[in-house]
Amino acid sequence: MTTAARPFTDREVAAIRGDFAILTRAVRDGHPLVYLDSGATSHKPRAVLDAERAFYEQHNAAVHRGAHLLAEEATDAFEAARATVAGFIGAPDHELVFTKNATESLNLVAYACSNAAPTDDPKDPRFVLGPGDEILVTEMEHHANLVPWQELARRTGATLRWIPLAGDGTLDLAGLDGLLSERTKVFAVTQVSNVLGTVNPVTELAARAHAVGALVVVDACQSVPHLPVDVQTLGADFIAFSGHKMYGPMGVGVLWGRSELLEVMPPFLTGGSMIELVTMERSTWAPPPQKFEAGVPNAAQAIGLAAAVRWIDEVGIDRIHAHEGALAERLLSGLAERPWVRVLGPAAGRPRGGAVSFVIADVHAHDVGQVLDDAGVAVRVGHHCAWPLHRALGVPATTRASLAAYNTPAEIDTLLAALDRVPAIFGVAEAS
């Protein structure tokens, strides 16, 4: 990443937007769509839809299961997709597991841990949890990186602990020494908050967790689509992300894991394609990544995701990052001019991802969102699957604008102008 990466010029954004048919849509009485909900799911460029379709129309077959020409072509395309996506995060191919979404990826690791409970086979002790052991998460997590660990704790008798949120929307690391100990078997943390845009110091946190022997699982859903991520330097043992948030199709996610760990980690979903030998009595497993990909794989979606990665590579992830950063600054300074709006999360100028959440006193986020929607502006409202975070912030719900490569400065201005209708409609004092 060159630090000098520039936001896209107007002409460049216009070209980018040309790749997304949906962006020409009119919504609600003819307003042009202003889509500021890419944190929930991004749109998909034509290249991605074309890649999926081409696969179905030319090479469709069950991969890793056939010896005929189509099956060979499909398998080649699927494995090439794996290589492309792996390369994007600096990983070797065989460390990349395709799942259906990040939620499955995180559940995969959590269930693999309970499958490592001591039985007949000796299992790698790093995956074995029991009473007295601890799982450390944070109060900032998306439910997908919280509930699976609550459930792992329930299944194994381990204890769930968490790093609390600080007032400024960062993690309160003051008590970290007391939270990390030899008992900590797993540390799960998000790289970028899906609500606040906070960028967590994952590398530093991972080093501290590794020092006590914990496995480090990073939720990279909101980082991989928005900033360069390199697993070689990140410090994590596993990362999880979803294709649909990074210009890729729905129905495909990724789990990356260090090969040394994937080798010894027990499987999760079992069935076809992930076995080595099967008798009625027992089965043994194929090597990773196949061990974790049971059933006929979602090859079309993996191939679509690879096309998304090529698309990102073409426009440049560093430029996407710079572009979203500039838009976020524009939004933050616009909001700062409106005293009735309170932005949550890191102050302007601090590192942040492309999500900005705010509240308006006495107006519920859903009502704010409805007014914006009425002007064609799509944002997300509610707890954004991060309910404990909202409780810690003392707000029931927030309004979130989240950015992607195709957003423009003019769209930020449309959002701000639509927002200005809110005080009048709901009788909020504009000076408050």
Binding site: V363, H364, A365, H366, D367, Q370, P396, A397, I425, F426
Partner: protein, 160 residues
């Protein structure tokens, strides 16, 4: 936008019969999981049949303008009425809200509830307007109103 009728905004700013009062026969707590909003609602009802009289409805509503206003209108419409009348109003509200803009609502039947007609065009907000109402029917059951009679009655005339 036809969603935020003056009447809805007024009720949401100054909800009628708000606050939790004693005495009460039953209290329920309902959550709208899609947004996390909550309502605590109490009823006092004389009798257990459709002819029972609803003496009071008091509530604490944490939510959007639609859900707060809906609870307020609910209280206005049902306090002092029979269970049967209240359930009629609920059935009329639900029919209108789930009609996707097709049913405008009968003022005779649902009173100020007609102000919520615009909600039916926004499927994700229908739950907001129904939150108080489902809490209310649940509370009636817990207060001893015959559940079967209640269900039979409220499912009449409802767009499926």
């Amino acid at each position: 936008m036809d969603l935020y009728q003056e009447l809805i905004l007024d009720h949401s700013k100054q909800p009628h019969h708000a606050g939790l009062r004693e005495p009460f026969d039953a209290e329920v707590h309902h959550v709208n999981p899609t947004c996390g909003d909550e309502v605590t609602l109490r009823v006092t009802v004389d009798g257990t049949g459709l002819d029972g009289i609803i003496r009071d409805v008091s509530y604490d509503s944490q939510g959007c303008a639609i859900s707060v206003a809906s609870a307020s209108v609910l209280a206005d419409e049902v306090i002092g009425r029979t269970v049967q009348e209240a359930l009629d109003t609920f059935a009329g509200m639900r029919e209108m809200l789930t009609s996707r803009g097709k049913v405008t609502g009968d003022e005779e039947r649902i009173g100020d509830g007609v102000a919520f007609a615009g909600v039916s065009k926004y499927p994700s907000r229908v739950k907001c307007a129904l939150l108080g109402w489902t809490a209310f029917t649940d509370a009636l059951i817990r207060a001893g109103v015959d559940a079967q009679a209640l269900t039979d009655h409220t499912t009449q005339g409802v767009t499926p």
